[in-house]
């Protein structure tokens, strides 16, 4: 599975309150949630998030277990997130809703906002078309890749029940 998109770059410790503040958790429509994604940290986020790839530093998604965090990013158009590391609940939530997340230490230094990337989820290879550099993310374990390819855990449960 290959994904391409433009980079939106952030630093370390991007927490779930920045991704979607608690006051919006009462919203039940994911499209409404998406309108408020990242608004306190980056008010112009939703203007550039369609088909973009977030590249972040350490500990992306730390804080709350709110699944509304990856959901708001997904519905804002984010195709994938590549971070130096993720907070574990966010990591699991993203995969469960079918939003690809890759861990990669050395991509961050090689990209700037707006660069065009191509990610190969299976091998973990990442290409930056703007400066022709490559980075290697940790390849996703088989069962996680399978979940993402199915579009998330709910689809798996549907098949199981159906």
């Amino acid at each position: 599975m290959r994904i391409s998109g433009k980079v939106i770059k952030y630093g370390d410790d991007i927490n779930t309150d920045y991704i979607i503040p608690a006051k919006y958790l009462v919203l039940t429509d994911p499209k409404e949630l998406a309108k408020h994604a990242m608004e306190s940290l980056d008010p112009s986020f939703t203007e550039k998030s369609k088909d973009a790839i977030i590249v972040a530093g350490k500990n992306f998604g730390c804080g709350s277990s709110r699944e509304q965090a990856p959901i708001s990013l997904k519905y804002a158009g984010i195709k994938a997130i590549v971070a130096k590391s993720f907070a574990r609940i966010f990591y699991r939530n993203a995969i469960n809703i079918g939003l690809p997340v890759l861990e990669c230490e050395d991509l961050w230094d090689k990209v700037k906002d707006g660069d065009q990337l191509i990610l190969d989820l299976k091998s973990g290879k990442i290409e930056n078309l703007n400066n022709n550099t490559y980075a290697q993310a940790q390849p996703l374990p088989g069962f996680i890749l399978e979940l993402i390819e199915m579009g998330g855990l709910l689809n798996k449960l549907k098949r199981m029940i159906g």
Partner: protein
């Protein structure tokens, strides 16, 4: 040899032993949802066509973030919970007036036992490590899978041991101990890992204090915080847990990824400064910062021991004119105990407001949301930008003792050097 987390996970996955990094599938003993994350779980449950939960007695439902409902939106979420509880005949649904903050309820009402594997759709589910359970926060979709199957996969974590010896000085608390850990490890220092607290000081700590330190394990990224069950645990659980349970402890020669040693004698009151939990300083370094609001409560520090400590300092004193003090007991039981002990009277006489058990202002929900430019000192666990209200407000995190002394002075105040007016 195996540590307590490895032993619990091998038991739950019916394996002789497990090793860090290994992925296992565990049977879940108990699963908790609140209204903020639970409404999604319920929606997904119906969406995938599920008909019946795996075990109606093992699901605990506690609306707690916004109770009683301050808005129509919140009321709708509570309604979703209520209807699902009815539809599935969920045995343990704690509606308004019967519960409080879910993490307090889970332990207080005996839903969690030592050695259990417990998941909750809330990141502070790690609190129940205080009684020797492996408990961790998960998302709403995974909770749907748990509701249907009663099972979930885990990666066996590496564990960091935190050994504590020595005695806390007067007005130095388990909260200060954890803030010290946060300073040492940093906000992602325990990512994907377990944290085991041990040593004579931990054994001396009450269950309330143990819950405070395990509660905050997530703030350094940990999957779970845990403390071996001991006499104090059994005493606390008597009358709360009816079923029997095994006593699981770490082997003497267990392996840990690393070890921290802290001497409680050296601890001083600490405060986590805006906007990160690991931005920890001695209270004395920031003393004098003026406060618009002080909040004592939450799943971190809203228990009876916290309220007793606050009352000890507030008794006979008045909250500064500059400041408003909001106190919220973590549960109906805590509220009732505080009432019977006369603490509520002390609070009201000091000029504090006491609200009903709920998360309330901790997440900027209700009952004390802060305005732009305002500064709040809070006994909660997160001080990210905008956490308690306006994105232009600031939050300092500290112990109930620091909070009470600071409320009286209207400024950040070290409780160990505090003298009433």
């Amino acid at each position: 040899m195996a540590n307590i987390i490895e032993k619990i996970l091998s038991r739950a996955s019916s394996k002789k032993e497990v090793t860090p990094g290994e992925i296992i599938e565990a049977n879940i003993d108990c699963a908790m949802i609140n209204e903020m994350t639970g409404h999604l779980t319920i929606k997904y449950f119906h969406e995938v066509g599920a008909k019946k939960v795996w075990d109606r007695e093992k699901i605990i439902m506690v609306p707690d973030h916004l109770i009683p409902a301050p808005s129509v939106e919140a009321a709708e979420l509570h309604k979703i919970m209520r209807e699902f509880a009815k539809e599935q005949k969920i045995k343990h649904f704690y509606d308004v007036g019967r519960g409080g903050i879910a993490h307090q309820i889970m332990v207080e009402k005996g839903h969690v036992k030592p050695g259990d594997v417990v998941v909750g759709a809330d990141s502070h589910t790690c609190t129940y490590g205080a009684i020797g359970a492996f408990s961790t926060g998960i998302g709403s979709t995974e909770m749907t899978a748990v509701f249907i199957t009663g099972r979930l996969w885990f990666k066996v974590p590496k564990v960091i041991e935190i050994k504590v010896e020595g005695n806390f000085r007067k007005f130095v608390t388990p909260k200060d101990l954890f803030l010290k850990v946060a300073k040492i490890l940093g906000a992602s220092g325990a990512n994907y890992r377990g944290l085991e607290f041990k040593g004579p000081t931990v054994r001396d700590m009450s269950i309330d204090g143990r819950m405070t330190v395990c509660n905050m394990a997530i703030e350094v990224g940990a999957k779970a915080g845990i403390i071996e069950p001991d006499e104090k645990t059994l005493e606390y659980l008597r009358g709360r847990v009816r079923e029997s349970f095994p006593i699981i402890k770490s082997d003497e020669d267990s392996e840990y990824e690393k070890s921290l040693e802290i001497n409680a004698n050296d601890l001083i009151p600490l405060v986590s400064c805006p906007d990160a939990v690991d931005n920890v300083k001695p209270v004395s370094d920031v003393e004098g910062i003026e406060l618009d609001q002080v909040f004592i409560g939450s799943c971190t520090n809203g228990r009876i021991e916290d309220l007793r400590l606050a009352a000890e300092i507030l008794k006979g004193n008045k909250v500064s004119d500059r400041t408003r003090l909001i106190i919220i007991p973590a549960s109906q039981e805590v509220f009732l105990d505080a009432l019977r002990e006369g603490l509520i009277e002390t609070f009201l006489l000091s000029g504090a407001i006491v609200a009903n058990p709920t998360c309330g202002p901790c997440l900027g929900g209700h009952l004390g949301v802060i305005a732009s430019g305002e500064v709040c000192l809070s006994t909660t666990n997160r001080n990210f930008i905008g956490r308690m209200g306006s994105t232009k407000s600031k939050v300092y995190l500290a112990s109930p003792a620091t909070a009470a002394a600071s409320a009286i002075k209207g400024r950040i105040t070290d409780p160990t050097s505090f003298k009433g007016d």
